[in-house]
């Protein structure tokens, strides 16, 4: 029996898991550690913040590093909070030094209410970071031309949103996502942001996306560990469905049982 766990390879790194998990907002470091384990993820996202006099991280980062060593997974630092290309480039360099990886989840926010990425700032930053030797995972909208420009800038992976960050709305524009998949064959595509339920993740995978990145849907669940497992199963199911080929929908009923007309010929 074939399994839905065939590999994919962002920036040449072969992975079996198609579930990228964020590490923010968990009720405790222990729940985060167990959620990482339950998810089966091989990529977890992390961040940077300015050092403030008050407050540490309560051991969360150490939990992430330990979990990564145990599972052999990869860190994907982000540039969350950046509003300009310059800010994002500076933060990316800091992340590379702190985390020891050239991978960077590039975020340049263009709107405060939707946290919609700024396409111009994102493309500019992606081009510079590529020249600086980074492997850029750009968080972007589902706009096809923006995605093409990001590829032109040197990105080998794209991460279009399903919906605004943390909204849990799922895939608000399946048409645009289908278009991306159709127009960019062979490009690793990750739906990032907006996923609220495992069914949303499965739907993204059924569209042919290579992976899903989410955080809040697990961290804010009543039972994050069980939800992480649920998402892992849904992502596998969606991938299996894509590989198997989902049937074409029909407007009208099509009988599935081959009864050859009416069962009884009365009158």
């Amino acid at each position: 029996m074939s399994t839905p766990t065939n590999t994919w390879a962002p920036y040449g790194v072969e992975l079996t898991s198609r579930f990228l998990l964020g590490t923010a907002g968990y009720p405790s470091p222990q729940v985060l550690a167990h959620s990482i384990a339950a998810s089966g993820t091989q990529i977890v996202t992390v961040g940077l913040k300015r050092t403030l006099a008050a407050g540490g991280d309560n051991g969360f980062v150490e939990i992430v590093r330990t979990a990564m060593q145990e599972h052999g997974a990869h860190l994907l630092p982000n540039t969350a909070g950046c509003r300009t290309a310059r800010e994002a480039i500076t933060l990316a360099h800091m992340a590379r030094e702190l985390y020891g990886t050239p991978w960077i989840k590039l975020e340049v926010v263009g709107d405060e209410h939707t946290l919609q990425p700024d396409p111009w700032g994102t493309v500019d930053a992606a081009a510079q970071l590529t020249r600086d030797g980074f492997a850029v995972f750009p968080y972007c909208t589902d706009d096809l031309v923006t995605c093409q420009r990001l590829l032109d800038a040197g990105c080998e992976v794209l991460m279009p949103w399903g919906a605004p960050i943390g909204s849990g709305q799922g895939l608000i524009n399946p048409f645009a996502l289908r278009t991306l998949r159709a127009r960019l064959p062979g490009v690793p595509l990750i739906v990032d942001a907006g996923i609220g339920a495992p069914s949303h993740a499965a739907a993204a995978m059924e569209l042919g996306f290579d992976a899903v990145l989410l955080n809040s849907a697990v961290a804010q669940a009543v039972d994050p560990v069980r939800m992480a497992r649920g998402f892992g199963l849904a992502i596998q199911a969606g991938r299996a469905a894509y590989e198997a080929g989902v049937m074409a929908p029909q407007d009208m009923a099509v009988a599935s049982t081959p009864v050859s007309g009416h069962p009884f010929l009365i009158n």
Partner: protein, 75 residues
């Protein structure tokens, strides 16, 4: 009566604080004086990243803004 010049102490911004900035102060020396674990932070001076290897050769001037960043969880 001659005017009395009151010396104005040269200062810089370090994260949330205003600190003296004596002549010859390097970024590495500032971090050490502030008790920072040099390997657990990344640094920027006036918005520009300063790699760890260059901190000892980065001289600070009055009015500079020094920020340090640390690892945190993230989405």
């Amino acid at each position: 009566m001659p005017e009395t010049l009151i010396p104005v102490e040269a200062t810089l911004r370090f994260n949330e604080h205003t600190l003296p900035c004596p002549d010859g102060l390097t970024l590495a020396a500032l971090l050490d004086a502030q008790g920072m674990d040099a390997n657990q932070i990344a640094t920027a001076v006036n918005g520009e990243f300063v790699p760890r290897a260059l901190r000892a050769q980065t001289w600070l001037a009055a009015g500079d803004t020094v920020l340090t960043f640390q690892a945190i969880v993230g989405g």
